[in-house]
Amino acid sequence: MNSNGRDHALIERCKSGERQALEELVGLYERPIYNAAYRILGNPDDAADVTQVVFLKAFEHLDQYDSKYKLFSWIYRIAVNESINQLKRGKRQQPFYDNEVAATDSPETALTAADLSREIQVGLMDLKEDYRTVIVLRHFSDCSYAQISEILQIPEKTVKSRLYSARQLMKETLQARGVH
């Protein structure tokens, strides 16, 4: 994760309208935000849309940024909220992957990396949003319990509980599909 000091300095430069600062901030967070949004949404187009909205909202509300939180937590929180909003709007639901692998391949068949990636995404999409979000933040965004707690604004105890349940469900789903 990025250092707090650098992020805060960037925020101040962004507030003063310095384009270079905006470019740096987008450069820092575009990829991780897109990656997280993709894993929550399961669709590259939706992930790109959400990533754009995240930055536009972040810049629009820079004055409301509370420096007691880490910048990445603030931006990730916007990303998670926007991703869930996008899911609720039901746009382009899950066109990128399908259930063909499990239907046609036996468990003994070696999965290609692409098949495996698709199966994992299917497993993620089978999870409830709460569970999917903690899995994504922990395993695809490399967040600690404390960071997930700050992003989702829930107690660490709840993070642990959700993560354990989510893993158990994910394990069962992948086992049922012959992946894990």
Binding site: G17, E18, R19, V26, E30, Y164, K171, L174
Partner: protein, 257 residues
């Protein structure tokens, strides 16, 4: 059946979040329970599987698109459109408008309320046009040059059809407004005749007698103007033009005659 606490310890271990005391407790449990060891192995395998997934990369132009949606800072530049339309007169009928160049273009017939390029992106057709052979009604093609921006604008006509040709190359977003009020002309169509792959064609709209094009990158396009009615006097010298590049207004007004 494993105890709830054992499961929590195993998960925390996998996540690297065990305290020293918890580590000791888990080691004791793992030593005595094959079920706990099996569960730990399964969850560790799942965790490694998830962690090993490749990062999904955003489209290469996403960052650029995001930045383009934010207000760009002003940038100094200068050029003159002096002379644009200076010798504008309708050409005589029969000039070789369709003299030979066949081009595949995106042709956009705009509604009065305007529409975005994304809505018209699939409207690609074939038309015959001749830019090189039709008369140039300007004394010279007007050269536009500024920091991060260059191009030419020319106005041609044939048999009552007026065409504004734009050939632009801009690093940043360019806004162009063409005002047709009181000219006796109205918007007849828009044709994109060339564009680079990385261009960003933001919007093409027509409303209130003003055509607005927001674009970026290397591209050529033609704006077709039609005569409102044969009885109405045409005064193309009243066409107004407004160029803004990267937030900096480069020109606005009726071009000098």
């Amino acid at each position: 059946m494993l105890e709830e606490r054992t499961l929590h310890l195993i998960n925390a271990d996998i996540d690297g979040e065990l305290t020293a005391d918890e580590r000791e407790d888990l080691d004791v449990i793992l030593e005595s329970s094959s079920e706990a060891r099996a569960m730990r192995a399964e969850l560790l395998r799942l965790s490694n599987l998830l962690d090993s997934q490749p990062e999904q990369l955003p489209p290469p132009d996403l960052a650029k698109q995001i930045l383009n949606k934010l207000a760009p800072p002003p940038r100094s530049s200068n050029f003159s459109l002096s002379g644009l339309f200076a010798s504008f007169q309708p050409a005589t009928a029969g000039l070789a408008f369709a003299a030979g160049l066949l081009m595949t273009v995106g042709f956009y017939e705009l509604s009065p309320s305007g529409q975005s390029s994304s809505e018209t992106a699939s409207m690609v057709g074939t038309m015959v046009a001749n830019q090189t052979g039709s008369p140039n009604l300007l004394k010279n093609d007007v050269l536009l040059k500024g920091e991060g921006f260059s191009g030419t604008v020319s106005l041609r006509s044939n048999d009552g059809v007026y065409i504004l040709n734009f050939d632009l190359d801009s690093e940043e977003m360019t806004k162009i407004e063409v005002g047709l009020d009181r000219t006796g002309l109205s918007f007849g169509g828009f044709a994109e005749t060339r564009s680079d792959e990385d261009k960003v064609f933001e919007t093409v709209t027509m409303s209130g007698g003003t055509l607005r094009v927001v674009n970026q990158g290397r591209q050529q396009f033609a704006v077709f103007l039609r005569v409102n009615s044969p009885e109405q006097a045409i005064d193309a010298g009243l066409i107004t033009i407004d160029f803004e590049h990267d937030g900096d207004r480069l020109y606005k007004g009726v071009p000098e005659s």
